[in-house]
Symmetry: C2
Subunit: 118 residues, 2 copies
């Protein structure tokens, strides 16, 4: 039931797919990490840190854990010296990137107000 036109009076943002998706990619670096993986996976910890610019170990580490917990990325650890860990996108992560990639396209199209020369 209740399949009538939604009214703003009782509508809610919480609980929408929107809200859920945003919770996954919130944060200064979440999307950058995913973007990095999409283009260069598998990627090692320090590779990614360099790519992201000024991110700190702590922040990167925390973000990677969250993304892993959310099922978007996979962590592959090689028990050796020196340690080696590679990150990559899961199937879920890849499916999300297909959508997020369009955000990139949109941004490139519309940031023209401030075209940044290469």
């Amino acid at each position: 039931m209740s399949d009538q036109a939604p009214s703003i009076a009782d509508a809610q943002f919480e609980g929408t797919g929107y809200s859920y998706t945003m919770s996954l990619i919130r944060g200064k670096y979440k999307m950058a990490i995913l973007y990095c993986l999409m283009e260069f996976q598998p990627v090692r910890f320090n590779e990614m840190r360099r790519y992201l610019g000024r991110i700190t170990d702590k922040t990167l580490s925390a973000n990677l854990k969250e993304l892993e917990a959310d099922g978007l990325i996979a962590r592959q650890e090689y028990p050796q010296i020196p340690p080696k860990v590679e990150y990559s996108l899961t199937e879920l992560g890849e499916s999300l990137m297909e959508v997020l990639d369009q955000l990139c396209t949109w941004g490139e199209t519309h940031m023209s107000g401030s075209v940044v020369a290469p």
Copy 2:
């Protein structure tokens, strides 16, 4: 430097369309505001505040100003007593919503599998 495949060594996230798009919708409520407008525009200030749940006047006001400055939403003020202001999406805002709407769809599809019990 030829036009070979990009290497992670000198790639950068800053400056991508991605980065630009995210800068527009960052924040706890930015997307919720846009989403609200997409479904119910034009929307008045207090209507939106109720829709967004626990947002304060200050935060809502600040976010609306930013979105307006970014050209995503339009503000229509009616000089009368009591005051009346309506917000709606600009063409640019609408074009962004077409993309963001897919985030919603993705979220609805994938949040069912990993519902986190409260």
